[in-house]
């Protein structure tokens, strides 16, 4: 009986610090100051759909999608290798995948400057090998690289955990029945890892589409994403109304992509 009551402080906390702030965002997005009062308006929301802002939104989506695709292409083989029986000490390798995340992510991203600069480490190595220099710093490519670098573990881990749970006798059965390794992978292994792939896609796409730090550090000034635009509205131009409208739009976008992806995964539900 009394047990129910003791979750009261938690509910109150969430109400004040999670629900109420979101209501404030909705409130600022849908109202504007007029003669000392806040009145209802759709002006902020309609501004979101102006071409200059749509271009930024499209660009954020594009970069996030490309990064997610790269994370999948690079990460899936890693997860596959980690679960293969060639490696006996795979738990240590999994720890090695996670370990970089304990170094502050801003500093890690910043360290890429040292590597990518015109006179940076990578170009020194390329020159030594008599290869042409690479100048991707402050371009889209650098932003994508930063996203893939930061979020790759988020793709590897969920795929690894689904692959790890696959019943090995199924794979042996496929082999006994004469399936080539490729067919075994295509028909037996991959379909069973789809849930992990989906979690990975969500866990990479969401932070990639909302980031403002990676684009600020590696993309230079002119490469703005939706995250940078929102940050500017709140901390530089103090246009809370438009900033809130952009945030509302971003949340709706993520909610829709999230639920579409979850639907495709079937009824089992649950993000993890």
């Amino acid at each position: 009986m009394k047990k129910k009551l003791i979750s009261g402080p938690y509910l109150a906390w969430m109400l004040i610090f999670s629900i109420l702030p979101l209501f404030l965002v909705v409130w600022y997005a849908l109202t504007a100051e007029s003669e000392g009062e806040r009145v209802f308006t759709l002006a902020h929301l309609s501004r979101v759909f102006e071409p200059i802002y749509l271009r930024v939104i499209w660009r954020s989506l594009r970069l996030a999608l490309i990064s997610t695709a790269f994370c999948f292409l690079l990460g899936y083989p890693v997860a596959l290798i980690l679960t293969s029986r060639h490696f006996k000490r795979h738990t240590i390798l999994v720890v090695l995948v996670v370990l970089p995340m304990w170094m502050n992510f801003l500093a890690r991203t910043y360290a890429w400057l040292t590597l990518l600069e015109k006179n940076g480490l990578i170009n020194h190595i390329l020159a030594f090998l008599h290869l042409p220099a690479m100048n991707i710093l402050y371009t889209d490519a650098a932003v994508i690289l930063g996203m893939v670098y930061n979020f790759l573990p988020f793709m590897i881990l969920p795929i690894y955990s689904t692959l790890y749970k696959i019943d090995h006798s199924l794979i042996e059965a496929a082999e006994d029945l004469g399936a080539t390794p490729l067919t075994t992978f295509r028909r037996v292994i991959f379909p069973q890892s789809l849930a992990g792939v989906l979690s990975g896609v969500i866990m990479v796409f969401m932070p990639a589409v909302t980031t403002f730090v990676i684009s600020r550090l590696l993309g230079g000034g002119q490469y703005t994403l939706i995250g940078n635009m929102i940050e500017q509205q709140f901390l530089t131009t103090y246009d809370w109304g438009f900033g809130s409208a952009l945030s509302l739009f971003l949340m709706a976008l993520l909610l829709i992509t999230g639920s579409v992806l979850m639907r495709s995964r079937g009824e089992e539900g649950g993000l993890w």
Binding site: K3, A107, N119, T210
Partner: protein, 266 residues
């Protein structure tokens, strides 16, 4: 054999990709030239100067204090919440536990700015207190989702037996339930602590008045060129984490020998 070699090389390349920036960061903490990208010889000067740098030391102080307080308070609040949630049934339970997902799925930028709006509306000055409140909020779900599964596994018969033997509910909880869910509480605390130490985005919006943490200091320095003292600080912190992991691993190994350890199993 060939496949095995191929996968070894591939894995090595991926680890090179993941660790190259970290290696660069650490190497340049021993670099006597100040600018990045130029190697001027080995030095330990930055490590010595680090502890005299008042800006960095104050950022470190706020980071650690905030992480410790946020982890302790979130663990206390979250554990009590999990116990409460486990006693609820039906729709209220579903709603209340799904509420905990909110800070996890809400993009951190939206969480940061919406909390900033809240603090300004409630006239809570942006500074250490507002940062702490924000950190407790995003740490809470991690504690709840670490403790809840452990509560599901507890044997309620023991708790009922304690009550039959005349223990008060509170006493029975402290003596019977809490020891059984302790691994979940410890995991939740550690998760909360690391999440807090590493946070940039939420803190960036939720603080002000000269109160900064290490991440914000790095962000403001990054545009002017980062100070090698920060590299030194991060190298020490990273070494600390590896040491902690090593100790935890050793303890876990000796734990599993004597009794079944439940820290990392579901």
């Amino acid at each position: 054999m060939v496949r095995s070699w191929g996968s070894r090389v591939y894995l090595a390349l991926i680890f090179l990709f993941l660790y190259a920036p970290i290696a660069v960061l650490m190497v340049f903490s021993f670099n006597s030239a100040r600018s990045r990208g130029v190697w001027g010889g080995f030095t330990l000067d930055w490590y010595a100067q680090l502890f005299q740098d008042r800006q960095i030391m104050s950022a470190l102080y706020y980071t650690l204090l905030c992480a410790l307080l946020a982890a302790v308070l979130a663990t206390a609040l979250g554990t009590v919440a999990a116990i409460g949630l486990s006693g609820m049934r039906g729709l209220p339970r579903l709603l209340a536990s799904n509420l905990a997902y909110l800070p996890m799925i809400n993009p951190d930028i939206v969480m940061g700015l919406s909390l900033m709006l809240l603090f300004i509306s409630l006239k809570i000055p942006l500074g250490f207190v507002s940062m702490l409140l924000a950190h407790i909020t995003f740490c809470l779900p991690f504690v709840i989702f670490s403790v809840l599964p452990k509560l599901k596994q507890t044997q309620t018969e023991l708790y009922d037996a304690a009550l039959d033997l005349g223990a008060t509910p509170l006493y029975a909880y402290a003596k019977v339930i809490i020891p059984q869910i302790r691994p979940g509480i410890v995991t939740g605390f550690l998760l909360a602590f690391t999440m807090s130490i590493d946070d940039f985005v939420v803190s960036f919006f939720a603080t002000g008045n000269g109160v900064t943490n290490v991440a914000i200091t790095i962000y403001s320095m990054a545009r002017r060129g980062m100070n090698p003292k920060i590299n030194a600080l991060l190298t020490i912190m990273f070494a600390g984490v590896i040491l902690l992991l090593f100790i935890a691993n050793r303890r876990l190994a000796s734990d599993t020998k004597s009794k079944q350890s439940t820290l990392f199993t579901k």
